[in-house]
């Protein structure tokens, strides 16, 4: 189990008011959430399906941002393991959608070129977006190929051959049972007007974004 103890580090308690303001402002603007409305009732924590494993629950993540602890806020298990089920936000009496905050923090972490605490999770979603940019539609085989390439290269660098073999075994097993049941589709599905989809990606990169 990867639960860790309460993450409020001594560093958090020493953070400067100026840091807090800029981090809070940045997260609030990008996520569209009013973090100041949180009064720590922890209804979100009670409903969080990954809370037991992450240790950090949505209320604590909000607290980290309020206290201006940029390092912890961008790099804790909840940010990466959040499954975006939207339970916290649905139950929040003050309408704070913390899943939007974890989405925002992931994007901020990527923009700051930080190494994700769970690289596989980041690699998967990046691979999904890369495959979608290529064909306009997500093809499962292409997406998995991009993802497995990204993760395997990383494991190779660290010499973690066991992880590579386990991953190959698992995926091969799933692939075989999908083929047996005719759930695997080899024909690539694609959009005709790919230029239009690529134009949206281009605009996203220019930062004219939402």
């Amino acid at each position: 189990m990867e639960a860790k103890e309460q993450v409020m580090s001594a560093k958090t308690l020493q953070s400067e008011a100026t840091d807090a303001k800029s981090l809070l402002q940045e997260v609030a603007e990008k996520s569209g959430q009013n973090l100041l409305a949180c009064y720590q009732c922890r209804r979100c924590a009670a409903g969080c399906p990954v809370g037991e494993e992450t240790g950090v629950t949505p209320d604590r993540l909000i607290r980290m941002v309020l206290l201006g602890d940029r390092e912890e806020a961008l790099n804790n298990l909840l940010v990466w393991k959040c499954v975006a089920c939207y339970t916290c936000g649905t139950r929040c009496p003050n309408n704070i959608q913390t899943a939007r905050i974890t989405e925002t923090l992931k994007q901020m972490s990527k923009a700051a070129h930080l190494e994700p605490l769970r690289p596989r999770i980041a690699d998967f979603h990046n691979a999904f977006m890369q495959a979608t940019e290529h064909m306009g539609r997500f093809n499962e085989i292409e997406g998995m190929r991009i993802y497995e390439t990204k993760t395997t290269l990383k494991e190779l660098k660290t010499g973690n051959f066991g992880a590579i073999i386990d991953e190959m075994k698992n995926q091969a097993k799933l692939g075989v049972s999908m083929m047996k049941k005719k759930r695997m589709h080899f024909k690539a599905d694609q959009v005709k007007n790919k230029a239009e989809v690529k134009a949206l990606y281009r605009k996203a990169r220019q930062g004219k974004g939402a």
Binding site: K30, P49, V50, E53, K81, V83, A84, C85, Y86, T87, G89, T90, Q97, A99, R100, E103, T104, K106, Q107, K110, R118, R120, I121, D123, F124, H125, N126, F128, M129, T132, G136, R137, F138, N139, E140, M144, Y147, N170, L174, S177, M178, K181, K182, R183, M184, H185, D189, V191, K192, N193, E196, V197, A199, L200, Y201, K203, A204, K208, G209, A210
Partner: protein, 293 residues
Amino acid sequence: MTMELAYYPGCSLHASSALYDVQCKMVFRNLGIELKEIEDWNCCGATAAAKTDDFLSIALPARNLGIADATGLSEIVIPCSSCYSRTLVSQKRLSCDPGLKDAINEELAHKVEGKIKVSNVLEVLVPRATSGEIAGKAKKKLEGLKPACYYGCLLTRFPCDVNVTDDVENPQGMEIVCTSLGAEPIDWSYKTDCCGASASVNDADQSLILMSRIMKDAVARGANCFVSTCPLCQFNVDAYQEQVAQKYGLEKRLPVYFITELIGIAMGFDPIEMQVDRHLTDAMGLLKELKLI
């Protein structure tokens, strides 16, 4: 009289969940509804876009909304919960943010107008169950079937304020449809819990924990199958069930039906034509045992 609805299958209904695409068309046609797949649609970006790029998470579904608006049809049906959620959220966001709407429309041949109604399958099926229309088309009762109606996350919970069509914590749409066909859906606690579909590849242990909780409660409450409307939930609980059961020492295996499979079986459709034999956790055995096929 046949009515036409616009239709967005999404990527999974063109790939691993092609059976759901087949079933939706068969069942809806029998209810007098022709599903018109919109032209040249793209991926909605699903969970990945929201986690990586706010602009694309709105812009990708927006391109589909523009195409859907251009059909002139009044309603678009989106069976996948993730596609449905992302499209509805995009439509809502663009209605509140004209600047963003203009910025996206600049790139699109078919501009988003925001007029088409975005529906999930239950919004079309539930009124037809309550009116007795679905039961009227049924050739047999689904006797002995005790489904755990599994809604997952994205049918009732949204990251922004949109019109939610069922009870958020205790939705009833699937129960209404199943009951109208003579099945006895069980009452249980995990119907809107997350199965971890978006984590099944990249955070497998987490996804197995989430599915084990769902499985345990469904079995303890006496369900003999699951029923779902979401291809991502269906695939996850179907394909990884053996792994969950082995890791957590569960004896039972429960078939995970699409709602369209149960309606189709009641309507007397051929299970092979509906591709019910393509589940990874056997789905034919229970139907045979209950003499429904």
